[in-house]
Symmetry: C2
């Protein structure tokens, strides 16, 4: 079952009434979060909401904390025990003409849709996208509604028969994929592109960096070249819905996946601790 939250209440309508001047719709002017909801728990809820709140401050969009909390609570109650994707959207709302327009009436919209947890941990193939991310781009470094570049990259990957697209930054170094962060294991080092590498700072990326030492790995936020992926001991990608996906192929070449399974087990264990669900079943 799917549910929608709009105008401050829960429903199952096919449409919501929206101003044709809502800047989420007209200019991609807003933020979103995609959260895995299981057993009435929104996994890493505080981390997701903190990221949105921080980005809202950077973008100058008011953050209606109470309404967002109410939306999440209502959708979790509606979703019950089953696994769902909880998608939270915050737009600047409508403003006077002009890109710089201020809004005192941001709009909160949220949806809940079934999620198949068998997708957790499945291996992924990647191809390198022609789209380049700029570290000086708000859209590249915050989870805004302006996802055109990620979409173009994802469509390149789909056209090539791959699962996701590896996106490089302007300098030609690794940034992230269209929907996930990238990690490489080399020896006992867990490498991932640093915040200044035009990445979207993923919640699961943050969780893993915090737990790396418990896994016997030294986390390093660094510059990662495409060549360092090719000869790593393991490459994997992380996000909030599928936790960790070992990368089996990059641009057609086989990639090592040592230790990925151990790390996935650890992340599944953390998630199980939050929502009492076994993700490896």
């Amino acid at each position: 079952m799917s549910f929608v939250w709009s105008d401050g209440r829960l429903h199952q309508h096919e449409t919501v009434p929206l101003s044709p001047r809502n800047r989420g719709l007209t200019l991609g002017d807003g933020l979103f979060e995609t959260i895995l909801a299981v057993n009435r728990v929104a996994l890493w809820r505080d981390e997701h909401l903190a990221r949105m709140k921080h980005s809202a401050a950077v973008l100058g969009i008011p953050f209606p904390q109470d309404e967002i909390g109410a939306a999440v609570d209502a959708l979790l109650a509606a979703g019950g025990e089953n696994a769902h994707v909880l998608r939270l959207t915050l737009t600047r709302g409508a403003t006077a003409r002009g890109l710089a327009g201020e809004s005192k009436a941001p709009v909160v919209l949220a949806t809940l849709d079934p999620f198949d947890t068998r997708l957790v941990g499945q291996p992924a193939t990647l191809v390198t996208s022609a789209v380049r991310r700029s570290a000086g781009s708000i859209a590249a470094t915050h989870k805004t509604l302006s996802y055109a570049d990620n979409i173009a990259a994802a469509r390149e990957a789909a056209a090539a028969g791959a699962d996701d697209a590896l996106m490089l930054n302007s300098a030609g170094n690794v940034a992230c994929t269209s929907i996930a962060n990238v990690f490489a294991v080399r020896g006992r080092h867990l490498l991932t592109p640093a915040r200044d590498q035009a990445i979207l700072p993923g919640v699961m990326r943050g969780v893993l960096l915090l737990h790396a030492q418990a896994l016997g790995l030294t986390p390093e936020e660094t510059v990662l070249t495409p060549e360092q992926l090719t000869d790593a001991d393991a490459v994997f990608i992380t996000n909030s819905l599928r936790f960790l996906r070992p990368v089996s192929r990059l641009d057609g070449n086989a990639i090592a996946t040592a230790v990925s399974d151990t790390i996935l087990d650890h992340l599944c264990g953390l998630a199980a601790g939050l929502c009492q669900r076994d993700f490896r079943a």
Copy 2:
């Protein structure tokens, strides 16, 4: 008077019914055009629609030509003789989950709002934005709904008390502003950043490049450094609503505006020929 086109018809409702999964709203996945409409004429209509059609093909969004033509016609008829901004929005519509999703049902939405033609030709002050545009970005090079970077730049400018933001590309060269293209006149040379400089290829930019020689200027699509703006004979910005704005200040420094008025007169003459309205009155 303002008007809205949605679901294939004209109305004046405050809201439109929209799927909460419409990707224009959730992912900035679509395109738009902003067209000056005067005297029942959409200025440079063919050029605007050709740009949208081309970008739709690149993004893989179906282009419903008949519906778009009907929307423009209906809004022009509603607007009558007065000047309006006709804003045309095409979204991919809703798809199955996943960024790469295909849609067979794109959504056309359009609005018509009054425009004060006294804004045409007014001088502008610019400040250089911290946001950098990537030539390898779909959002930077097509008029997509993913405008977060332009919005951030425009808000920087507004916070600094300037009219618009100069946006540089990853290499530190001039790209465009948040809503306009940039030109510099040096002697008889009319310089503007080339298509590979992370610019949005504006309709008015194209019009001016076509008419440069009639103005005794040699058009050059090139690499333009910020320093070349500072010591140019004139710097101006162009877009479809305000035609040409002489740049009077860049980051607080006075900028020369020689010949800008002559070029503006020429563009106003072209527009007058299309819609029988004197824009210099």
